[in-house]
């Protein structure tokens, strides 16, 4: 077979402003995952540059990238990637451990507040196996938010969820984006999920085939049954309580 280099991305030049809600869409093999890995500082481009917050991060060391991931980026995955046999609270707390310099009680408080934010105030001690898919994804979102990141990178976050739960998750993203100004980058292959974003970037064969503002933006918060919760930690709006 030999080593044949197939570039996953070619000639992609684009910029994303703070506070955008960008949906990246494309079929599998289109390069959208590689794009996300580079944006998420999980991978480095073989050539070219990635400027994040005015810094070229494409040539940073593994450890430096780890610090950026920890402090600037929140990840949400299709498979949730929660630690099994570990309480929701411990899962949410995890990024704070790697950040360091925080007392245990402060960490616990913050993680608890974050779970309240995503409507899981009464599921703090539940293990992932005791939670529904939607609840697990909300724990994962709480985890991604705990370090107050500038960017949320969501890789097929609704891939394992049913339609109703998907809408609930998208509603959380829209709310974070609108009220807290967090940049959301959503990777998906479903057109209707992509339409929750303000801008849709279409990938095919490692290239951007279209990059346009989304004129037909969908809104997830049609049913307004919000309960006021403590939002002091990250300045988020209250999110629908799970008890409702």
């Amino acid at each position: 077979m030999g080593d044949v280099k197939v570039p996953a991305l070619r000639g992609v030049t684009l910029s994303i402003d703070a506070g955008e809600f960008v949906s990246v869409i494309g079929p599998s093999g289109s390069g959208k995952s590689t794009f996300m890995h580079i944006l998420g500082c999980l991978d480095r481009p073989t050539s070219g540059q990635y400027i994040l917050d005015d810094n070229d991060v494409s040539r940073l060391s593994r450890d430096e990238l780890a610090t950026i991931r920890n402090q600037k980026i929140g990840f949400v995955f299709q498979g949730f990637n929660l630690l099994a046999r570990t309480s929701a609270l411990d899962n949410v707390e995890l990024p704070l451990l790697y950040r360091g310099g925080m007392r245990t009680s402060v960490r616990r408080d913050r993680a608890k507040k974050m779970l309240v934010e995503v409507g899981l105030g009464d599921r703090v001690d539940h293990h992932p196996s005791q939670l529904s898919g939607g609840e697990q994804q909300r724990v994962a979102i709480a985890r991604s938010l705990i370090n107050e990141p500038a960017i949320i990178l969501a890789d097929e976050p609704t891939g394992n969820l049913d339609t109703q739960t998907s809408i609930e998750v998208m509603e959380i993203f829209q709310r974070l984006n609108r009220k807290s100004g967090i940049t959301v980058i959503l990777i998906t292959h479903e057109r209707d999920i992509a339409e929750y974003g303000t801008r849709i970037i279409h990938f095919r064969d490692g290239k951007v085939v279209s990059d346009e503002p989304n004129s037909a933006r969908r809104r997830a918060n049609s049913e307004s049954e919000y309960v006021a919760t403590n939002t002091a930690a990250v300045g988020l709006d209250p999110i629908r309580s799970a008890s409702s």
């Binding site: 998420g40 780890a66 920890n70 995955f77 451990l97 790697y98």
Partner: protein
Amino acid sequence: MSLIVILRVALKALARNKMRTTLTMLGMIIGVAAVITMVALGNGAQQQIEEQAEAAGTNLITVRAGNWRRGGVSMGVGGAPTLKVKDVEAIREQVPGIMYIAARVNTRDQVIAAGQNWSAQIEGTDVEFPLIRHWNIEHGTFFTETHVRSAAKVAILGTIVRDELFGEGADPVGQRVRIRNQSFQVIGVLESKGSGQWGQDQDDIIVAPYTTVQKKLRGRDGTNISGISLSAASVDEMQAISDQISEVLRVQHRLIPGEDNDFMVRTQEDMVSFRSSMTETMTGLLAGIAGVSLIVGGIGIMNIMLVSVTERTREIGLRMAIGAKGRDVLMQFLVEAVVLSVVGGLIGVAVAFGVADSLTRFLEWPTAVPTDIVALSVGFAGATGIFFGFYPARQAARLDPIESLRFE
């Protein structure tokens, strides 16, 4: 990440899989428990030797005829009739600092009384024997100078011989026993002394005047003896006295300089150190074998950690995605391995104490757990954890986050 946080992360990871954690620790538990129990047994035996030596009298010196080697041929102790009665006199006159001294002639023979018979060690000795050996008479009396001079056929029985021939606890004083078809009068019974330094039963003995054993039982002319027992006035002078005895005997036996001694002088101290070194060798050997199980336990930990790294690839990927550096992952897995080995080691210590206690309580084996070995084996367990935990931990730290997150 601070060490305390890493420790907590590691503990939580271990708690997540209790069965695997327990099984992995088992290797360390058994290894450490085995090492400590073996050393405790050796140590207990050592202490018992010292106690027995104390009881036997630390000022005891024995001279034996013959030597291990003579002209390249091993003679065996007592194998050569080189000691004479006049050697005893010479030592008594020329060596200062001797408290008691007695010639010895011993043999082994069948003893018959009232239809019972028993094979016993027959110790021919002199009147100072009870003083040298700190051995009291339970019934009757010990023999006197007159008995020795006249080679009288009198016997003092050890409790085992008494029990076998006359029944347990009986007072046979005044009765007669037959040895080699000669009738001996029982004039006393020795107090029970229990097992001796070499594990033999000291009470399985008949004591008679050495002259009697010489002439009546061994058919000798009355000048050859098999040994001399003596006690020094002071424990501090043991070595000096033992050297002087050698001097006197060399002159007595007309040995030229450079010629080997045809006798052997042993102090109680020599015997203790000889037995101690034997016990130490044994303990070392057993502890060494047990130590192998510690290494096997360490390899067990490495195995489980390698499996664990593969099994937890996604977890590692996730930890890296949310900000864990290679060092954090390495430390987590290394700490997990060390916790496994050290906690296993500590449980092993507890098990060892329990086993040692049971051995003493139920089997009456003497044990003593030495603290330095406890510290050493827990330390060794920890070192094993680091050594065998490092490779799997490095494997984990080198994983690529993207591939790890995709790992099924």
